[in-house]
């Protein structure tokens, strides 16, 4: 008995890959992003495989912006070959799970507007603490 669904699926989706990106939801003047693993070709706010977190760009009553990341599932999806969009990479860098993203560093350097000597002496100190602990425990 040949399983046709798998063959058809492979034939249909052979040019798209899984991406982890932000899907916009919410109302007017109140954006809310879901961090979602979906196929590349799908509409960005449409059908997705799995929800991996959320991001609310509006700060709450304590002045904080909440980002939730299902690191277990992101680990699994990236291991299976998912690509990450730029905002998601930025978040992973800011949270300390990955090293800082290049654009973040370059924007920060442009923002500070110091001369080249000062920028060379400054060092990146963030460490993959979460990754390190996971590797130790696994």
């Amino acid at each position: 008995m040949v399983q046709l669904t798998i063959v058809l699926y492979k034939a249909y989706h052979q040019f798209s890959h899984l991406t982890i990106r932000l899907a916009l939801g919410g109302c007017t003047k109140w954006p809310f992003y879901h961090i979602v693993a979906s196929l590349n070709k799908c509409p960005k706010d449409g059908h997705f495989m799995e929800q991996l977190g959320s991001y609310h760009p509006v700060s709450n009553s304590y002045g904080k912006k909440l980002i939730a990341l299902n690191l277990d599932q992101i680990w699994h999806c990236t291991g299976c070959g998912a690509h990450l969009s730029k905002p998601v990479e930025k978040f992973l860098g800011l949270s300390g799970y990955f090293p800082q993203h290049l654009t973040v560093v370059t924007n920060a350097e442009r923002f500070s507007k110091t001369d080249t000597e000062a920028t060379e002496t400054r060092e990146l100190t963030s460490v993959n603490i979460a990754v390190g602990i996971r590797l130790k425990s696994s």
């Binding site: 690191l71 699994h76 350097e109």
Partner: protein, 359 residues
């Protein structure tokens, strides 16, 4: 070949993620109503209350092992003192009105039903844990001076992986100054309530826990409701939980309303607090006045277990006192209201003798 490999991996991911996705959404079941009466799963990660409490027993000299709240001996004494008034435990709670059901039972069936009710009551009377106050978290993970000034607000990152216990979850805060620090205990509790909501718990502290509202509750004799709400809202080792519990116990002691907590799950905690603070006089008097002499003796025994270096403990050992004699020894040596205790004991003994003479 490359396309085959890619599509194979896609298929694996799709099948795996689909399965995982289904499992993920279905496994996230809502907590059962009985969960409120059981020790919080967040305590010490796995539901066993042993790991975090070991630190308590290590204080003091290494030879004498200080008894903790969870010791079997202590627990058995406290459970005995709590009592088992079925009518009070299964008091009708506010729920949907429906017409009452009547059952016709033989004596054997009635006994069976009572036995089952006692089992259910014992589950309801399981005591919430008594822990020391938690130390505040001041961990800084990284300091990136480069990121200073690029953002205006703080970012709070929560790890919502389902398989991690709440105590070990990573909740970090990235400040606008670029420092990456671990979130404080209050922030942690709020985030965990937002992403893993627990029944009966609110994200922001309810208004009822303010001073003036607590006073109103105490004046209406609703200490049990206050303590139940406190157990639902706060973690057992948070400062707020301990403070509100101590406040409630002090208020009960001031007005002598010990009977409010009898046959509830908070009686053990109250007795433990009083024994630690050496303020068991009011409770003793109340127990003797209600003809609970056994409970009074077990309370004094618990006191001697916890403070074996005290005067009353050593005198009791010398005299090998038992029963009411124990209470008399305690009243003479270490009690604040010693005379009052002796008076009530005398009255109790006279009433006992007269009732036994009459019958």
């Amino acid at each position: 070949m490359a396309t085959l490999r890619v599509s194979l991996s896609l298929w694996n991911l799709h099948a795996g993620s689909r399965g995982a996705g289904r499992v993920y959404f279905r496994a996230r079941s809502r907590p059962r109503p009985g969960d409120l009466f059981q020790p919080l799963p967040g305590v010490c990660g796995a539901g066993t209350p042993c790991r975090g409490l070991c630190s308590e027993s290590e204080s003091g000299s290494p030879k004498i092992k200080k008894p903790t709240f969870m010791d079997e001996e202590v627990q058995s004494i406290l459970i005995k003192m709590t009592g088992l008034d079925l009518l009070k435990i299964f008091k009708p709670a506010i729920q949907e009105t429906k017409p009452p059901t009547y059952k016709l039972m033989t004596q054997a069936q009635l006994e069976e039903a009572t036995r089952q009710a006692i089992e259910a009551a014992k589950v309801r009377l399981k005591m919430p844990p008594v822990l020391e106050e938690r130390t505040p978290i001041n961990d800084v993970l990284a300091e990136d001076k480069i990121l200073e000034g690029t953002e205006t607000a703080k970012y709070v990152f929560t790890d919502i992986s389902y398989s991690i216990p709440h105590r070990e979850r990573f909740i970090v805060v990235r400040e606008p100054s670029g420092t990456l620090r671990k979130a404080s205990w209050e922030e942690r509790d709020r985030m965990i309530q937002i992403y893993f909501p627990k029944e009966g718990r609110r994200v922001l502290t309810p208004v009822i826990f303010r001073e003036e509202n607590l006073e109103t509750m105490y004046s209406q004799d609703r200490h049990v409701d206050v303590l139940n709400l406190c157990v639902a809202q706060f973690e057992p080792d948070s400062a707020d939980y301990i403070k509100i519990h101590h406040q409630t116990y002090e208020d009960i002691d001031k007005y002598g309303k010990y009977d409010l907590l009898r046959s509830t799950r908070h009686f053990g905690g109250m007795a433990w607090y009083f024994v630690n603070k050496k303020k068991i006089d009011g409770l003793l008097i109340d127990q003797i006045q209600r003809d609970l002499a056994d409970d009074a003796t077990s309370l004094v025994q618990l006191y001697h277990i916890l403070h074996p270096d005290g005067q009353s403990a050593q005198e009791a050992k010398e005299q090998a006192a038992e029963g009411l004699q124990l209470i008399k020894v305690f009243a003479k040596t270490e009690a604040q209201k010693g005379a009052y205790i002796e008076l009530t004991l005398q009255a109790y003994q006279e009433a006992f003798i007269s009732s036994s003479a009459a019958s």
